[in-house]
């Protein structure tokens, strides 16, 4: 980005040196860009086309315009999946956000073993989901798991009267949200810890001079200072909860089992439509909906970052 020197003759065309410089630069980018273009950009464009087709991968493609989208409007399962995804988002986003913030504040105190506790809180995030979901399903097993055994011992209620957790219509969403918060809050805690470290300590000192107590310092210094971090965490959480799939499939559907009406989510619906029903066109149309939702959130994020940035 060199500024043009006023009055200096503008060179037309490219000199040999510039061509060489360009070629060297392209050679740096090429290995990544070729892979990126072939496996990301091309499928992305293809996805747009595919959403306007009717195609099972074997028979000739059939252009049906917006037929897939019209079908989608009348598809009860699609709406159910979308609704479940929204319900999950509405539960998991605030719960994770508040837990992560509370954890970060707790682990930002000068306490013994702080690093140990941070490690412990972060650990479920990196642990293999399939393994962890298997334990979770055992622990919350309705008829024999330790959770219901403890509830039974405490309340004396019959096992039939106790929650059936993942196996029941009423408790499935609660179970998956609880699991997700437990597994992921450590990740967002780390982001909040970084945010807390960025708060100017003089602000706390000033608040103390004014006689503020702990809660007032939290309310009037920490919270406002963390607005950009909170906004970022919020956006990340919303986007990731719209992409949710593996938690649901591992908590609710073993082997080849399918998700039921009260647990199906958007990505599951896309996966199932494409790879079980082989309706590639219709699956891509639903994928467009996911794309547009995430795009919308990302645009809000860009605007917000301009506002909160720096």
């Amino acid at each position: 980005m060199t500024a043009n020197i006023p009055g200096a003759p503008q060179k037309r065309g490219l000199s040999k040196k510039t061509i060489k410089e360009n070629l060297i630069a392209y050679s740096f980018i090429a290995p990544n860009f070729i892979g990126f273009a072939v496996f990301t950009l091309v499928p992305l464009g293809f996805s747009l086309v595919l959403s306007l087709l009717e195609w099972d991968g074997a028979n000739p493609m059939n252009f049906i315009g917006f037929g897939n989208f019209e079908h989608m409007f009348k598809d009860r399962q699609f709406w159910r999946a979308l609704l479940n995804t929204f319900v999950y988002t509405a539960g998991v986003v605030p719960a994770t956000l508040v837990s992560a913030l509370a954890l970060a504040i707790l682990l930002n105190q000068k306490v013994r073993g702080r690093n140990f506790f941070r490690t412990v809180a972060f650990f479920p995030y990196v642990a293999s989901l399939v393994a962890v979901a298997a334990v979770w399903n055992f622990i919350f097993s309705p008829s024999k798991g330790p959770v219901n055994n403890i509830l039974h011992a405490l309340t004396g209620l019959d096992f039939k009267a106790l929650p059936k957790w993942g196996a029941s219509k009423d408790w499935a969403m609660f179970t998956v949200i609880f699991f997700s918060v437990w597994k992921n809050m450590g990740y967002y805690m780390v982001i909040y810890l970084a945010g807390l470290q960025g708060v100017n300590p003089e602000l706390y000192e000033a608040a103390e001079l004014d006689g503020a107590n702990g809660w007032q310092k939290f309310r009037n210094v920490t919270v406002p200072q963390l607005v950009p971090t909170t906004f970022f965490v919020l956006m990340m959480l919303i986007i990731s909860s719209f992409k949710v799939y593996d938690i649901f499939i591992n908590l609710f559907a073993g082997g080849d089992n399918q998700l039921t009406d009260y647990t199906r989510v958007l990505v599951y619906q896309i996966y199932n439509t494409a790879f079980r029903s082989l309706s590639y066109g219709y699956a891509s149309a639903m994928a467009m909906v996911l794309f547009l939702i995430v795009l919308g959130i990302t645009l809000i994020q860009f605007r917000g970052e301009k506002k909160f940035g720096e």
Binding site: L106, A134, I239
Partner: protein, 278 residues
């Protein structure tokens, strides 16, 4: 002020109680997993439960290798994670150097293209990607997973951010000394970017190790499966062998535990820097 000090003690006790409760909540499932992995299936659900089995059944850890090709699964996963991580690191640090330190035509447009796709969810184009890969003959090969994971826009972005913090003068001086651009990348940029490299390596490795949907779509042959979908297959096949399922789960966790505990400093730095940058 004795009053303030007393108040402090109460607050600290409260904080420690919270911390201990937290540690229990986070660790209990893992403790339960470990304890059950050493039990007979019929003893897994006895209540009140015994945390330490009277006769720990280490046999479980031998039996699982005979029931499923666990060794193959672990080898496959390790192989994929290493290849993907190496490719990702190489290609993205290479590209990032050009974006951060070189002048060329179309630089801004290309970089904008990268940024724009960071936000696009993979799930939105996984279907056409599968159709393409199948067309290329990659279905049911490890090549599919490698192509899927190795060229992320995120890696380029992360490395570029770091390279930009390295002063241009350093490259300029090296150029005057007659070093080629490739030489500058290899001998100056790479050695200086260890923190960013560590972050990228850990994230890519763990992501590939724990990836679920990609292998579920592409790897349907048992001998190709990774540990995640292999473990899932095992759970489905032997659904009432609780002790064995827990033993296999413990084995699936160990590599990540080792990597995480030895490199956790970089993990935390990585999440934090990704978070701050947005």
């Amino acid at each position: 002020m004795p009053g303030a000090k007393k108040h402090n003690y109460i607050a600290m006790t409260f904080i420690y109680i919270l911390l201990i409760l937290l540690a229990i909540t986070m660790l209990i499932p893992f403790a339960w997993m470990l304890s059950s992995s050493l039990k007979l299936s019929k003893d897994v659900f006895t209540f009140p439960m015994k945390w330490i089995p009277e006769e720990p059944r280490f046999q479980n850890f031998l039996d699982i290798w005979k029931k499923i090709p666990l060794g193959t699964f672990i080898f496959n996963t390790a192989k994929l994670s290493v290849i993907v991580t190496a490719l990702q690191l190489l290609t993205s640090s290479f590209a990032a150097y050009a974006f951060a330190k070189l002048k060329f035509k179309g630089k801004n447009a290309l970089f904008l293209g990268y940024i724009a796709t960071i936000a696009v969810p993979w799930q939105a184009y996984m279907v056409p990607q599968f159709i393409m890969m199948r067309h290329m003959g990659f279905n049911n090969t490890h090549m599919a997973i490698i192509c899927l994971q190795a060229f992320s826009a995120f890696g380029v972005f992360l490395m570029r951010q770091f390279y930009q913090s390295i002063p241009d003068d350093l490259c300029e001086a090296a150029r005057i000394d007659g070093l080629s651009e490739y030489g500058i990348w290899a001998r100056i940029m790479l050695p200086l970017s260890k923190p960013a490299i560590s972050t990228l390596v850990i994230f890519t490795f763990v992501n590939t190790w724990n990836d679920f949907l990609g292998p579920q779509i592409y790897l349907t042959k048992t001998e190709l499966k990774t540990i995640q979908i292999g473990l899932r297959m095992f759970i489905a096949q032997y659904s009432s062998e609780y002790g064995l399922i827990m033993a296999a789960s413990v084995v699936a966790l160990i590599p990540v535990v080792v990597i995480f505990l030895s490199l956790q400093k970089y993990f935390v730095q990585g999440v934090a820097s990704a978070g701050i940058k947005g």
